[in-house]
Assembly symmetry: C2
Homo-oligomer: 463 residues x 2
């Protein structure tokens, strides 16, 4: 049963399992104690720190273990903001950071700080120029992911690091998605990562803070981990995390080359196999194991259920799969279609057969969902003639994604080329998906207008 | 090789190991995901929460898992203080709380809050009257441990809970040391605990917040664990923690009765086997598996090394075993001897033979340390007569514990009964250990006076 959601959590690596077993016997005691069990634990901890620091590309005394990648990000962001509060209170983040970074930014804003979001292009990539523009003399910290967790786009970290260094602003890199594949290039200042993304056990994050970066922990004092990560050391998991990082790195290049071929296959075939699909994320500058696409006229949650029933575990950034009923902030920032969104992230060792199996199942799953939603083939252009009205208005109030777009697609043929259709919707997703649909179908999106109930989105038929 | 420091960390329980193994296969995925691996993880998480809540004595939806007991305490304290900031900013804690509570209190003070410490008696116990006196209309939260981690004294939680309820103040109980032995009695509001104290793996704490307690998390937002514990769920460890808590509870009564006999044996024999020793902590109201004593004229760190060499792992609250060179705040708050301090905490399954072996080794270890420090048997009273000076002053500046007390013991015989000896010392520990020595030897402690260099401690010889 193929599991294709390793960007969320990777199954435990065999090396991690082995190391965990061994350190359950050797590493349960308090490494701060002086007796033999404590000394043994200390040796294991020191060795794990050395191994992790080598993989990250920093000194061992710059790296601490945290209880999760989220803790590493929260601690790193808060620690630099506090350490540099004399420089200013501005935090610069990209619009497509992981929620842990954006939540830390929200907490900073709630406490009176200021946040600037750097926009991304349609591929989800920032530019160094975008950061240069956002940085100001009062910027305390800039954050940028090494690669995006939803669409796999690799960010220009080294270039952004140069821009940050010129401005005298430290750069925190969330390396959660890329660290298994290699160290982060460029002169970053702070780095955060998460072991369960590379087949380590959950319960371990990494936080590296370069010497010279002003850092002032915000949590209550604690002697462990240089005062940067309170709580009893989760040593067996730390040992397993470090061992598996080393093991994953040893096979990273070969495995990346292999998985890139499988992902390319998905990228190429999915647009041939499934009508009305958009592959999102950068076509070349991307993680080797991850591909994301969105399907018009499809409810993401139903599609995930269908794929799950067929034996494939994937995830989605569609609004209907989130508890808040809003599409992923990444897809929104990119301005791409969010309905029927599917993220496939292949674990190490994924076979071509597994990927082929997925590609066999996918078209039927998508068309099955469309049938259930009453979607027939898009009405061909030009059937409306003569007495067709120049403009139409559709009341889509109360309808949830993907229904407003389905209604629009069904109606567009009822106006002549040059005519307009206006969709009145109170579903937040319409703001993203109606313009995306226009782009995909070759129509012009004319803009939105607030109504007493909902928002009116107007589209001009062009083809 | 007997390990007698289970109050610091307990070796992994066999049931925890089994559960951990199983859940490494079944529980590595994200329990928030809808596919089968996620649903399986969610089932495991729900079952673990039910089991832990039953052991704690709360509703499952009142309990969240944190990355450690320290995180549970920090989150619990900060969350209630923020939730009740309209009531006031005062935090009431006992003087002998675990450092995680005291550090949270310090953080509160640094942020402008106010903290009141409730004193303890010579056994380390608070009274409900002490809490009643400390509570005020502006008290946001009171904290009390269920039992002390250094001396084993059980606190009157149920009585203090009544006093808090009358004052309308929530009570947070740090149950880290007692939870393996049974649920905390009384109407507590918030409870924190740590799995590695009961043979669960590290990386898991419990935080229970009763319905109706105003609680406002202070960390950045996160959907997991009811918004009270950010970061990816450490599910295998959580499953193991819940399973071992249940297993430990099943044998708790029988094991407590058995270990209590062994601890009683240590309490009784240590004072017969080792001269000049003081057993500290409450003689009856105490944890079943823990006993603490202090040895006059002994360097705690050297003693720990001697015991370690003999195969026994114990811990100490002596100043020389701490990085700050101050004795444990618990011993200080109790006003008992801190030099040569030894805490013995027996793991489940400790045998009588292991305890007998320790009692065989201990007297030689103590006398060996005393010999190395040049301590002969205390000078018998009355040898000084006729020409002895009425008062003596000893310059002990620069000497570290236990030397000032050794100097005092060697000098007391040089003044007649009724005469005084003044020790001038710049070792912080003298303030605690000189009065304690007086109590043990039957002399009168007359008080201290600041000197240009150090402090003068004066003792009147009575016997």
């Amino acid at each position: 049963m193929p599991y294709f959601d390793t960007a969320s959590a990777a199954p435990l690596h065999p090396v991690a399992r082995q190391a965990l077993q061994a350190s359950l016997d050797e590493g349960w005691a308090d490494p701060a104690r002086l007796y033999r069990e404590g000394r043994r634990a200390r040796l294991l901890l020191d060795a794990a720190r050395e191994a992790a620091a080598e993989a990250v590309g920093c000194r061992a005394d710059e790296l601490v273990f945290t209880p999760s990648g989220t803790h590493a990000v929260h601690t790193g962001v808060a620690g630099v903001l506090a350490g540099r509060r004399r420089a200013g209170s501005r935090l610069v983040v990209s619009a497509v950071e992981h929620s842990s970074v954006l939540h830390a930014a929200q907490a900073h804003e709630s406490a009176g700080g200021r946040v600037t979001e750097v926009p991304v292009d349609r591929y989800g990539a920032v530019t160094a120029a975008g950061y240069a523009e956002a940085l100001s003399p009062s910027t305390a910290l800039a954050c940028l992911q090494s690669a995006n967790h939803e669409v796999g786009t690799v960010q220009p970290v080294a270039e952004v690091a140069v821009v940050c260094a010129e401005a005298g602003v430290p750069l925190l890199v969330d390396a959660a998605q890329s660290l298994p594949w290699g160290p982060v290039e460029g002169a970053w200042s702070v780095l955060a990562a998460s072991a369960h993304k590379w087949g380590g056990p959950p319960g371990v994050g990494l936080l590296a803070v370069r010497k010279g970066v002003r850092f002032s922990p915000r949590h209550p004092a604690d002697e462990r981990e240089s005062g940067r990560s309170p709580g009893f050391t989760n040593l067996p998991a730390i040992v397993a995390a470090a061992a598996s990082l080393r093991a994953v790195r040893a096979e990273a290049d070969a495995e990346a080359a292999r998985l890139r071929i499988l992902v390319d296959r998905i990228r190429r075939r999915v647009v041939r196999l499934v009508p009305d699909v958009e592959v999102v994320g950068h076509p070349e500058l991307r993680l080797p194991h991850l591909v994301t696409f969105s399907c018009l006229y499809v409810d993401g949650e139903i599609l995930l259920h269908e794929l799950d029933r067929a034996g494939y575990s994937v995830s989605s950034g569609s609004s209907c799969t989130s508890s808040t009923l809003t599409p992923s902030h990444v897809l929104r920032a990119m301005g791409v279609l969010s309905e029927g969104n599917v993220r496939v992230s292949l674990p190490l060792g994924t076979t071509a057969e597994e990927v082929n199996g997925f590609l066999e199942v996918l078209p039927g799953a998508v068309s099955g969902v469309r049938e259930r939603l009453g979607v027939t083939e898009p009405v061909p252009a030009g059937v409306a003639a003569g007495s067709a009205p120049e403009s139409l208005e559709l009341d889509a109030l109360g309808l949830r994604c993907p229904q407003p777009v389905i209604e629009l697609a069904a109606a567009i043929g009822r106006v002549p080329v040059g005519g307009t259709v206006t969709v009145v919707s109170d579903d937040e997703v319409a703001r993203l998906d109606i313009p995306a649909w226009c782009g995909m179908r070759g129509h012009a999106y004319l803009g939105e207008a607030e109504r007493e109930a909902g928002t009116a989105y107007t589209v001009r038929r062009l083809v």
